[in-house]
């Protein structure tokens, strides 16, 4: 791994040339896998993530079935080649935690009572990681769920905010995540403003926290627009072929 850069922010300009409240370039494509019921591929700065949704289908093992609603399974997995030092394959403490919080971030929008006893399986594969993979995963999973035709109240958008060199910044890159003072992933239902995931690593003052949350809100609005466009583009593409 490279050493800590001397400065993370130079005269208000970040290492990759962005301002404090700017997001990295994002590319979202819905319906990239044929076998899955719904899927999404997203490139978010240096992150490359693939999400696949199967179901609703019969839940296995059977004792997990809920007679009143569908259950959600969420599997967040990092490819061994997704980071510089080889990531040991398989679930670990970190990925199990991320799977749990991501599942709970998406649950509020899903109308699970339409499919009792069944399970909705979400797979998120991180192919290349560059900070903010859980938020990228949630953003992609949300598009994949809509693509699978699952009844939902809305889409969930997610983004990370944090603090680097004493400044609140939106959408951290790896250096800011590693050497910064705080990292706070946020997921929200953009249209209603409801927050479905909020974690924080590091310290922020109350003022900084409010500023960070406002940054996240603004960021989620941009992400939501791109999510919506990816689904509409998929339909338009299927018409022109």
């Amino acid at each position: 791994m490279q050493n800590r850069p001397e400065k993370l922010i130079n005269d208000g300009v970040r290492l990759d040339g962005r301002g404090a409240d700017e997001i990295r370039p994002i590319k979202i494509e819905a319906g990239v896998l044929n076998r899955a019921d719904g899927s999404c591929y997203i490139e978010w700065g240096g992150n490359k993530v693939l999400a696949a949704v199967y179901g609703p289908r019969e839940a296995h093992p059977r004792h997990l079935q809920d007679p009143r609603k569908a259950i959600i399974k969420y599997r967040y997995n990092m490819a061994s080649f997704s980071v510089e030092d080889r990531k040991r394959p398989g679930p670990d403490r970190r990925s199990v935690e991320i799977s749990k919080v991501s599942r709970e971030a998406l649950a509020p929008v899903l109308m699970l009572e339409y499919f009792p006893r069944s399970s909705i399986d979400i797979f998120v594969e991180i192919l290349q990681a560059d900070a903010g993979t859980r938020t990228t995963g949630i953003t992609a999973a949300s598009v994949a769920l809509a693509d699978a035709g699952i009844p939902m109240k809305n889409l969930v958008s997610a983004i990370s905010v944090g603090k680097a060199d004493g400044e609140v910044v939106l959408d951290l890159i790896r250096e800011e995540d590693n050497y910064g003072e705080a990292d706070m992933p946020v997921a929200m239902i953009t249209e209603t403003g409801d927050i479905t995931l909020l974690q924080m690593d590091g310290n922020l003052t109350e003022e900084e926290f409010i500023k960070a949350l406002n940054f996240a809100k603004k960021g989620c609005e941009s992400v939501y627009k791109l999510q919506r466009r990816s689904l509409i583009e998929k339909y338009e593409k299927s018409c022109s072929d």
Binding site: P56, P67, F115, P116, R117, G149, N154
Partner: protein
């Protein structure tokens, strides 16, 4: 492209009747699925572009026998839930030992969904004159959301295919379609139906399909010569 595509959570209108694929919150109607909006005089609904078949009482579906127990057959009806066809809902009185003779595992059957019990127990019956075990022809499977396009407005599309190709077609609401007739007719009909599935939301689909069938028929005529 005159049709309106929406994503889940899209606002559709106030004080309108909420049809399928929508939900109401504080008198406002929103879409619940990713699909196309259909507005009537009063009602608004969203036709999904994808999704699993949810069994509805009264639907005629094509099921595949996956298990035969001592008192019922279990059928895969192309949905997250299996269908149960009890011996008591079978039109003929048969002995339990003869169940395998009536319907073998792996066979396709046209059945009607009698009722959907809590929690999603699907009871099937054979009390419709169309219900039968399928012993000839081919069953093709498409996304069930495209079934209305295959049928067309008032059955226009399906009648077009039947008339032009001349094979028998039965459409199950769960996305399975039974074709019977000569091998050549079945092949052409299957190709046509898959084309409809692929191009389901293209404008003036009927004209395209009409042309497609004509071209295919002509092509075959040339090969024969």
């Amino acid at each position: 492209m005159s049709e309106e595509v929406v994503i889940p959570g899209c606002f559709l209108g106030e004080s309108v009747t909420a049809g399928e694929g929508t939900f109401v919150e504080e008198n406002r109607v929103y879409s619940m699925v990713y699909g196309l909006v259909k507005r009537d005089k009063k009602e608004v609904e969203v036709i999904p572009l994808s999704g699993k078949y949810l069994p509805k009482a009264g639907d005629l579906v094509i099921g595949k026998v996956i298990e035969s127990t001592f008192s019922m057959w279990i059928l895969d009806i192309n949905s997250p839930y299996d269908g149960l066809l009890r011996l008591s809902n079978y039109p003929k009185r048969i002995e339990k030992e003869d169940m395998q003779k009536e319907m073998r595992v792996g066979e396709m059957v046209i059945t009607r969904i009698k009722e959907v019990e809590f929690p999603m127990r699907i009871n099937l019956s054979m009390d419709d004159r169309k219900c039968a075990v399928i012993r000839e022809g081919v069953v093709v499977e498409i996304t069930h959301t495209k079934i209305p396009r295959v049928i067309g407005k008032g059955g226009s599309m399906i009648n077009l295919i039947k008339k032009k190709i001349g094979c028998n077609i039965f459409i199950g609401q769960n996305g399975r379609i039974w074709l019977s007739g000569s091998d050549k007719k079945i092949e052409l009909a299957a190709e046509t139906i898959l084309k409809i599935e692929r191009e389901a939301h293209v404008n003036r689909l009927a004209d395209r399909i009409d042309r497609f069938i004509k071209e295919k028929k002509k092509g075959k005529g040339k090969n024969a010569k």
